[in-house]
């Protein structure tokens, strides 16, 4: 299975670089990230030992860019008919789904790798807290994984890649910005403490903030991994559903 996943991964990852898309996404990401860091977050006015100014706006930037990586993964296969080719190869659906997901995830991680020179630049100016930065990078990688899985799932339900992009941005925005208070309102009376904990455990920013503040926990890891696996599982259901 691993070999087949790698074959799909390589094909999808390389396909980003066959068109200018990859370079445009890289350029837009770097410009937006630097703009958010130096302009919106007042980089020079804040204490940035953990590069908080850089990491604070990463989810908003990734919400816009990750769907551009995932939008075509399934929708283009459906539109062009190549889905019939790929799904009639002697490899498991899991290999195909994982290969596509990992290709987009790896590209998302590549974006992050390209910001390392910025870290080096800042480290020459101020003393950085490496533990805090590592934790923040891990949080951002987990966010990329989460948004990639959501994007793959949405793409699997669409034949139009523009619609897949728009739905993915919308879905990402909903999942990141929503506060689950309203869902837990009925249980507030039973136990306020429990309700607050539940609300926090379902909230994206609560987990992301923990990580960029250098306080990663197993609950943060579980949150991102569980939702990503759930999205990929729904992706699988979408593929199976089309067989009916």
């Amino acid at each position: 299975m691993l070999k087949n996943t790698l074959t799909i991964f390589t094909k999808e990852f390389m396909s980003y670089f066959r068109t200018p898309t990859a370079y445009i996404i890289i350029a837009v990401y770097l410009v937006l990230s630097m703009f958010a860091t130096f302009y919106s977050s007042n980089f020079f006015m804040n204490n940035n030992i953990g590069l908080t100014s850089f990491f604070t706006y990463q989810p908003e930037i990734l919400i816009i860019l990750i769907p551009a990586l995932t939008m075509k993964l399934w929708s283009d296969e459906r539109r062009s008919g190549t889905i019939e080719f790929i799904l009639t190869q002697p490899i498991s659906y899991t290999s195909i789904i994982l290969g596509k997901f990992l290709a987009a995830f790896a590209f998302g991680c590549l974006l992050l790798v390209l910001t390392l020179p910025f870290d080096l630049y800042v480290s020459a100016l101020i003393s950085l807290d490496s533990t805090m930065i590592l934790s923040a990078y891990l949080g951002t990688i987990l966010s990329i994984m989460f948004l990639t899985a959501i994007g793959c799932m949405i793409s699997a339900f669409n034949t139009n890649s523009v619609l897949a992009y728009l739905f993915s941005v919308f879905m990402g925005w909903i999942l990141i910005s929503i506060n689950f208070d309203f869902l837990l309102q009925p249980w507030m009376n039973l136990s306020e403490n429990l309700s607050v904990k539940l609300t926090q455990s379902l909230n994206f920013y609560h987990h992301y903030q923990d990580m960029i503040m250098g306080e990663p926990g197993l609950d943060n890891l579980m949150y991102f991994c569980t939702l990503s696996v759930l999205a990929l599982w729904i992706n699988r259901i979408a593929i199976d559903y089309k067989k009916q």
């Binding site: 087949n4 094909k11 009639t88 002697p90």
Partner: protein, 241 residues
């Protein structure tokens, strides 16, 4: 060996296939013949596990295409209608990708790729992007990909659609040569193709198998002793031609 028993497929209450039963053996070159909408492509998609049947069973060399799809697909070479390919890849890249998906070992990978390139005369377009190829070449590339692992079953959906007469002739010649070692299923509504390639006909109409016969027998049942008149009379077309 392919065995189908009472195979049916419904799409939103519409019967695309209605209780089909047949058995195909090695050496059979089967033409799935029928008018548009007869259920030919649906049947091929069920045989390849791309669609699941609503009811009934299929066995391909003892395996179920849905429950054991990897085992089944490793025996099948399938060229879907319009030969869908990845346009951004070159011919060689696509064939290499196909070979890897077919789990061909690295030691013989290049040998296998160049063997199909040689058989289908693809040398001249090896480094050309697929999107720039003519329809005939695209068909050949798709066929080369399907033949990569020397499948026991070759399934071709409308294989000569859009090809010029020379390319059609080459395709028929290829089918004849390959039929000795495998089962070939060709979905078509082009009658000349049936005469040129098939030794067995499954005639479908409105999802039903209305005739399991040979080209010779079908000819005899037509008013003009040809396949065209037999086809028209059996599928509800006018027989006054």
């Amino acid at each position: 060996m392919i065995v189908a028993k009472n195979l049916s497929k419904n799409f939103n209450g519409i019967k695309a296939l209605d209780s089909l039963s047949f058995c195909l053996n090695k050496g059979d070159v089967v033409a799935l013949l029928g008018p548009n909408g007869a259920g030919k492509t649906t049947l091929l998609r069920i045989l390849t596990g791309y669609l699941s049947p609503s009811s009934g069973d299929v066995e391909i060399y003892g395996h179920d295409p849905i429950k054991e799809r990897v085992a089944v697909l490793s025996k099948i070479g399938y060229v879907p209608e319009n030969a869908p390919l990845y346009p951004e890849m070159s011919t060689y890249e696509f064939l290499r990708f196909s070979a890897k998906l077919r789990n061909i070992s690295p030691e013989i990978l290049s040998q296998k790729i160049f063997s199909v390139i040689d058989n289908l005369q693809l040398y001249s377009v090896l480094n050309q992007r697929i999107e720039t190829l003519s329809k005939g070449y695209k068909h050949r590339v798709a066929l080369a990909s399907a033949l990569m692992h020397s499948p026991k079953i070759l399934i071709l959906d409308e294989p000569t659609e859009g090809l010029d007469p020379n390319q059609k002739f080459e395709m028929h010649k290829f089918i004849k040569n390959y039929s000795q070692q495998s089962i070939i299923i060709i979905s078509t509504h082009i009658l000349e193709e049936v005469e040129a390639s098939a030794n067995r006909i499954l005639l479908l109409n409105k999802g039903k198998l209305i005739r399991d016969t040979t080209p010779q027998e079908l000819k005899l049942s037509g008013s003009n002793y040809d396949i065209a008149s037999a086809f028209r009379s059996m599928t509800g077309g006018s027989d006054n031609a």
